[in-house]
Symmetry: C2
Subunit: 410 residues, 2 copies
């Protein structure tokens, strides 16, 4: 007997037929003797409609009222799912954020979970009842409904799993697991049976969006075992095994490299001929940070004739604002010009195994060199090596690295 | 400066344009210096959609989950209305049943209000904020959302008005007031400036459905002054005066008769040749009551040869069930036959003034006689005289009585 939290996203509960299908999936786990809690998103399309109404009434609408409106989507699904479960003989009860309570801070529209009271839900589960929790929502310090931001239902599910001390949190989604890389680029990409929290975070942050980053951070902090699996792939009704996101200690056969990620959402900025004196990095990156711009990779060239070039990458959407900030700084910084390049991609090799294995970066550089791909910027962390290359080489680089690290399926 | 509760039904908030229009109406009252609270229904059509989903998943769905689903309609409107008010510079905040709290019993789907905590709302109103309360919903003893049954938002508004000690509860609806009779039958029907609670109750119970009966009962009990007025009739933006439902002491110039009501939803049943012995009435009406059938008018003929005829009226929809109950009773009651007639209508003359004026019934009988309309059954109460007549004579009777009591507009 296990205690399991099952989370279903908007496409999995998009209409009554799919809600019935999810109810049957839940019933299988209950019939197998497990204690089950369910977390649901809004029916696909509902949230967009509600957001559009708020926007139409007031572009700068009050986030508290936005939350009151938008949280209804999950409330509807939770009630309908409870009815669908009862109809097939499963005792079930819906729960809103304020009823549990699932407490958050007061940052409406993007609230952070502060605590989940699991006692009531545990008692119900032990009596054989399935709590159906409205995802994405909680209750703030002023007794008002809050929402967690887009994709927040993943975080709801992980927080709930921690609160009820679940053995596993199953996230049903429209992919059937986490792959060594994007299967659209590398058809021989393999589904990973297990992946470490840190690997999942690095893969998510560079573009492999299977789980919301915050949900993975929370799972890592609370040691919640998260399984990613498909809500659609079961012709027989049985769930196919997905990917388990766990502590790296749970991964016995560690691969050196778990996966190859890429991101085309990058831009490169070079500040030419900055005077090479102490404090110049702070002079550039302080103002950018104050403007809310996240800078990723940073490279400073060797000095020549008392000046240097400073190159960094950032999200492409932030580029216009970054250029504006740097233009304002020209008198104080005294650089010669700003170069911007949006035709770049970031390729990352990720794996907790590289902590204890040398040569991962060297293999990467050699592989790219063999394909005549020029590396523009390099950055490394304990479990990741990233390079910036020309965007046109993205697929070539990903395929070559996937083979070089022995990740191709047989 | 007055304190006013304004209630808007589903057609008044059916889309964003109408929500904006209602917001402007509210702003006028705020700008006039009044303290205002708003009660809203779900956008027209929303509740039907939500109910249909529950029905489709399970015809015998759990009423608690039905409530969780259906209450979202009002929640959405309350948030959108708060946003629309803020957009035009009115400080506003949405409130759900559990936040106020508006406490009800646990009869999900048709809950009764047990208490409304007005303190928080009064404090906000005194600070100039407009509470926008989701109608139709409350919170039950088990901390779950309840709904009050169809039309419950009227009752929400009256209960709220009592809780915040409002000077008036304005119910905006698709009629512009309460009339002396149905204007579709009598074009010269007059809008009543004032009508007593008891008159309103009698008119509502015989078919003039302007307000939900429970809301009038609550208004009478709590002495809430209720104004019925149109949400659409203001080309200029000004609200036209409607009808005020008040204590009869507030009606200085009492008419003897306030209005003429009719109902075609009646059926007449005659039990022929019942043995005329003590307990026979209990023997008929006890079992009908146990079957949940409400009997309205009752007449017992004089006895002849040891037997009598018992005639009564009931709602037409209950007729088949009543016939079945009576068929089962034939052996024990020993009657000869059951006669049923659905081709009947009930005409009622209503007015608190008749308490102190004789001759109201006599005028009714004479007027009908002059039109050769046969009276089948008569019943009277302190403020009402009702007769059952052939359905074909409905319009003729209503028009003749309307004139006879001097109700025609000039």
């Amino acid at each position: 007997m296990s205690r399991i939290v099952m989370k279903f996203g908007g496409t999995s509960v998009a209409d009554l037929d799919r809600i019935r299908s999810v109810a049957n999936r839940v019933k299988r786990e209950v019939d197998a003797g497990h204690e089950v809690a369910v977390v649901v998103s809004a029916m696909a399309g509902t949230t967009n409609q509600l957001v559009a109404w708020c926007q139409a009434l007031s572009p700068l609408h009050d986030a508290r009222e936005y939350d009151a409106v938008v949280a209804t989507g999950e409330q509807v699904t939770s009630g309908l799912m409870a009815i669908a479960l009862q109809e097939i003989g499963v005792d079930a009860r819906s729960w809103q954020g304020w009823q549990i309570p699932l407490r958050t801070d007061g940052a409406h529209g993007r609230a952070r979970i502060e605590g989940v009271d699991g006692d009531l839900l545990i008692a119900r589960m032990q009596q054989g009842q399935v709590p159906v929790v409205a995802g994405f929502q909680g209750v703030g310090p002023d007794n008002r409904t809050t929402t967690l931001g887009r994709g927040g239902s993943d975080t709801s599910a992980v927080a709930l799993a921690a609160a009820v001390k679940a053995d596993r949190c199953d996230i049903y989604t429209d992919v059937d697991g986490v792959y060594t890389t994007d299967p659209r680029i590398v058809p021989r990409a393999r589904k990973l049976a297990r992946i470490a929290y840190e690997e999942m975070l690095e893969l998510a942050s560079v573009g492999a969006k299977v789980l919301q980053t915050r949900s993975v951070e929370l799972a890592m902090k609370e040691r919640v075992r998260v399984q990613v699996l498909s809500s659609f792939a079961d012709a027989s009704g049985d769930a196919l095994p997905g990917s388990l996101v766990v502590d790296e200690d749970e991964i016995v056969e560690k691969e050196i490299v778990a996966g190859i990620a890429y991101s085309r959402d990058e831009a490169k900025v070079t500040v030419r001929h900055v005077p090479d004196r102490p404090g110049i990095a702070a002079g550039i990156f302080g103002p950018l940070s104050e403007a809310g711009i996240n800078v990723d990779m940073i490279v400073q060239n060797v000095s020549a004739e008392g000046s240097t070039d400073m190159t960094f990458t950032l999200s492409r959407t932030d580029l216009p604002r970054a250029q504006a900030v740097l233009a304002d700084l020209k008198p104080s910084l005294g650089y010669s010009e700003i170069l911007a390049d949006q035709n770049v991609a970031k390729i990352s090799v990720v794996g907790v195994g590289m902590r204890s294995h040398a040569g991962v970066a060297a293999t990467m550089f050699r592989t790219l060199s063999e394909k005549s791909i020029n590396i523009q910027v390099i950055s490394t962390s304990e479990i990741k090596v990233s390079v910036l290359i020309g965007a046109d080489y993205t697929e070539l680089a990903v395929r070559a690295l996937h083979s070089a690290y022995g990740l191709d399926a047989n």
